[in-house]
Symmetry: C2
């Protein structure tokens, strides 16, 4: 397939990142389909599970979703009783998001399925190389202000 040369962009990460993101996104949609949840649901629920009580703004920043994007995502997850919005008592503007029991179960199930998406990556790269890749990406993200 790919016997074309990137040319001027041989040392650019941008085009490659778009290719990679599109591929993973397509796989994610296919894998998430049985759950009937929008893309990003697992990412968001995983963040909530690890950081319960976070505000929507904190989660939106970390997940790289805009405010309105997060609202509709949480709306859907709340309707499905996977996530709960608890108003903070100390600052009543904030929602403290937490997973319901059903949410915890769903995260576990989804993770089993969705993590298979990256199986080809774990086959191609050694554990050290995968760690290296993630570490390099994290440093780049931080340098771009997405820490």
């Amino acid at each position: 397939m790919g016997d074309l040369d990137w040319g001027l962009l041989s040392n650019s990460v941008g085009p490659r990142v778009r290719l990679l993101r599109n591929n993973l996104n397509a796989r994610s949609i296919a894998a998430s389909d049985p759950f009937g949840l929008p893309t990003g649901s697992l990412t968001l629920m995983s963040l909530i599970a690890q950081n319960p009580g976070s505000s929507q703004k904190e989660l939106a920043d970390k997940a790289g979703i805009t405010g309105p994007g997060l609202v509709s995502l949480v709306d859907e997850l709340e309707k499905r009783e996977l996530v709960r919005r608890d108003r903070s008592t100390t600052d009543r503007r904030r929602n403290m998001l937490v997973l319901t029991e059903k949410g915890e179960e769903t995260v576990a199930e989804m993770f089993k399925v969705v993590s298979q998406i990256e199986a080809p990556i774990r086959e191609e790269l050694s554990p050290q190389e995968l760690e290296q890749l993630i570490s390099l990406i994290d440093r780049v993200l931080k340098a771009l202000g997405e820490g």
Copy 2:
């Protein structure tokens, strides 16, 4: 900003790649704005410059764009007289794409501007680390069938 933990997805590249792509995409839009060309123009023109005479299908595959997406992109670039569609004489279904002189000049100008997008990356990473990052991504892309 980012003192939340990825949790279950600590070893997943998917969410990070989406963050990275969104950030670079936003910068790309801002940087390309003065040229009034759609996103992906530089990528496509750079591919054509390096592989003149390629068919639209070959370019679409390499750039990770669907057929219809490429058509509208080429339409725009052709209207601006940056790219020419030459019908192949041996297989008259194929368009052999080539840059015009104006296209060559525009690519050079755009590259100077757009390459600045990744300057923070080149500041954060040593040349060896950047090479490593690109090499790892290319291997992952190949493993995912995006060679």
